[in-house]
């Protein structure tokens, strides 16, 4: 039987969603044109050439190295692209993804990237054409809800604040806005520079759907312990206790 990695324990909806995020087996909810993703990222004008930091690998004449023969370079590395980033902020109010799970997703599923996890934001760095593809995947998949998640290169403040009246996560720089038609529009790039044209990101998730798709354990949502009042804790807690136990013993008595 083929081996299936078991990414995360537990039978709660959050545990299942966390496994989905880590495995990369995500549902596609929307299709935002590549040019729009590029313009929101703000590193390169859509359609412009990729700037490079070195010549294409084929022209460079690489040294004879067994690892280089085994590992095929990513398209960005092969072309010598510069390294660029995309950074996400996810609301505590049942955003589908959280910084750790974006990082797990990146580290497991995206070749040649460098995920960075912070409390309120998550950044992935990679070669330019690679990061554009990874960012589009994040935007299009169920990892992102357009009201509760947004791409913020700076001034990420908002993830831990109450939502706005219209259900959007607070953004000091007003990079996204709720249109009268109920769709969310990106009006600025990730660092707050206005875009030439608004980008329609589609409708946000309903509160019930966000709760269904979230990877956040919350006291007013799904508890990490599983069903409240159950005789047995969910496997997620058992696994965490197990890891804590081993780590403590390793730390205190390394044998």
């Amino acid at each position: 039987m083929a081996y299936t990695p078991q990414y995360y324990p537990g039978s709660t909806s959050v545990g299942i969603n966390r496994r989905k995020h880590m495995s990369g087996n995500l549902e596609k909810l929307r299709d935002i044109p590549e040019a729009d993703v590029v313009s929101i990222m703000g590193h390169r004008a859509p359609g412009a050439d990729y700037a490079s930091t070195h010549p294409p690998l084929k022209e460079m004449g690489e040294p004879d190295c067994p690892i280089r023969q085994i590992v095929a370079p990513t398209p960005g590395a092969a072309a010598g692209d510069r390294v660029r980033y995309s950074q996400w902020t996810d609301s505590y109010y049942f955003a589908p993804s959280v910084p750790y799970w974006r990082s797990y997703w990146g580290a497991i599923n995206c070749k040649g990237c460098d995920p960075g996890t912070l409390s309120g934001r998550q950044i992935i760095e990679a070669r330019e054409r690679d990061i554009e593809a990874y960012t589009k995947k994040q935007y299009d998949s169920e990892m992102t809800d357009v009201a509760l998640c947004s791409m913020r290169g700076c001034t990420v403040h908002g993830h831990s604040l109450r939502l706005e009246e219209n259900g959007m996560m607070f953004d000091m720089l007003a990079r996204t806005e709720m249109g009268k038609d109920g769709n969310v529009y990106a009006v600025k790039d990730q660092v707050g520079i206005p875009l030439d044209k608004k980008v329609n990101l589609g409708k946000p998730m309903s509160e019930a759907e966000a709760k269904k798709r979230t990877t956040i354990f919350r006291v007013d949502g799904v508890s990490m312990h599983g069903k409240v009042g159950a005789r047995k804790y969910d496997e997620a807690v058992e696994a965490m206790h197990h890891m804590w136990d081993l780590r403590s013993k390793w730390g205190y008595r390394p044998e």
Binding site: R162, L173, G192
Partner: protein, 168 residues
């Protein structure tokens, strides 16, 4: 036995479960104003800068945060924060129930309202640095100690003053 005076002022904090749009903030403040009995009031929330404060886009104007004018009690003033919390001092307890009803009328979602002590009574070091010796102690607790300048909208019967730099 000590009997509490029913004319003693009380302090109240209102925390809506969502951040308020300027229109909702205006209707809430007007309802509170009409309820009467206010000694002082402070609105609190995250800052809304007029231009991008840092990063590669530093200096780019944020049109959405400009001219957020609201009119309270017939006087207009500009919001510089997203309203998320209102603290006020009422002349006496008898205005409290009316205040609660005012919030219920103006807010389309749930909120928390509680009594407590929310304004400090003795000047802090920051207060001293900003004002020197404070003559009118009502001003204590109304200033954001972290603001570059004292941002304060004083609504009195005579005039409205807003002391804030245009570009920050």
């Amino acid at each position: 036995m000590v009997t509490k005076s029913d004319t003693e002022s009380i302090q109240v904090e209102i925390v809506p479960n969502r951040y308020l749009m300027p229109a909702t903030a205006q209707s809430l403040l007007n309802e509170i104003y009409e309820n009467g009995g206010i000694i002082r009031i402070m609105i609190h929330g995250p800052n809304l800068p007029r231009s991008v404060p840092y990063g590669p886009g530093k200096g780019a104007p944020i049109e959405e945060n400009r001219d957020l004018l609201i009119e309270v009690g017939g006087q207009a003033f500009e919001l510089s924060v997203k309203v998320g919390r209102i603290r006020l001092e009422l002349e006496s307890e008898k205005y409290f129930d009316g205040l609660k009803a005012a919030c219920e009328r103006a807010l389309p979602f749930s909120f928390q309202i509680r009594r407590g002590k929310f304004f400090h009574t003795r000047p802090t070091l920051t207060d001293y640095a900003k004002f020197g010796k404070v003559e009118d102690t009502r001003i204590l607790g109304l200033i954001d100690p972290k603001a570059n300048k004292d941002r304060l909208a004083i609504l009195s019967e005579e005039k409205v003053t807003i002391d804030d730099k245009e570009e920050r």
